[in-house]
Symmetry: C2
Subunit: 166 residues, 2 copies
DNA sequence: GCCCGTCACGTAATAACATAACACACCAAA
DNA sequence: TTTGGTGTGTTATGTTATTACGTGACGGGC
């Protein structure tokens, strides 16, 4: 049950939190956005966990660190992060995850493993996405898309077969 | 603000509720499923409204009709309907809608109009869906997919232009 | 007939997720 | 110095969902 959600690959992320925060810092400076202490800490929390966290999980960690302890504190920080592309909300889980490809404008797709709870973010090619085709033919104008798949990740599939090799 | 969610087309659905319920009845009989009074009534409610309803909206209507008034009553009925393909949950809205194409095995895609709250269910071709491509290349096995787009439906686009023709 | 399993339904209680509304601090522009 | 905007904090409340437990209905095996 060890989630290793970066595309389901194991990796050592000793540096990647700091790197990602530093990049977010630069991005915000360029864009005139304020990456305040709460917001920065919230981003760090998501990056450290490297999985989908509920708003109340984030809130608890923020409170431990001396920030406010009431829901709006977490929701506001998460709003900022999601609006500006540093994090995403997984609708299926009512949970949030740090963006794996910040900076790019993208419509992310998520693969959610129901066995180990890992979540992988995949890039999509918006131009021939299914939803866009549908939208084109119906005259619907898309402002935001949710693409989420639930299932079993390669690691858990392998484990299942090892245990129960039929 | 009049949602007309069947593919955003206007239509007269005086008969379609009864027809859909009758079909669900047949399907359940064949499959050995029990379309009990609560479940049938819940389906009727979704069909009558012809839009996405929250579980508590459904619950209130069920209670009016003499069924239980506690949340599990609605959630269990909605579970049955969604598990067996008579309804879908719209994750983005935390709401439920009657299936527009019952009987088919399908991965539905939804177009959610943020102006009039209409929701259209579109058929998808699962074989060359984006998510399947991603799943194939990563070795992920999908059990359920969520495809939802938020935006503006053709009707509301037309209205906007009429009011504000730039 | 009786026992027992399963399934559906009902209720109470609570958990989990999310927002409204208001007060205060800070800072920059007028 | 005042004013307006933005960000943070709080209280209170609203909304969505689940857990836990009890009861009745039905069917199969003895």
């Amino acid at each position: 049950m060890d989630p290793n959600p970066i595309g389901f690959q194991k990796h050592d992320h000793s540096h990647c939190v700091a790197d990602a925060v530093a990049e977010a810092d630069r991005t915000c400076q360029k864009a005139g956005l304020q990456l305040t202490p709460v917001r920065k800490r919230a981003l760090e929390i998501l990056l450290e966990e490297h999985r989908a966290l509920g708003a109340y999980d984030v809130l608890a960690r923020l409170a431990e660190d001396g920030f406010g302890s009431q829901p709006p504190v977490a929701y506001r920080a998460l709003d900022f992060l999601t609006k500006n592309g540093f994090a995403h909300k997984i609708e299926r889980l009512n949970a949030f995850i740090a963006c794996a490809h910040p900076g790019d404008i993208h419509t992310p797709a998520f693969l959610i493993c129901t066995t180990c709870d890992a979540v992988a973010e995949a890039e999509t090619d918006p131009s021939h996405s299914l939803l866009n085709q549908i939208a084109d033919t119906t005259g619907f104008r898309i402002s935001r898309a949710v693409l989420e798949a639930e299932g079993t990740c390669p690691n858990c599939l392998a484990n299942d077969q090892a245990k129960d090799p039929k």
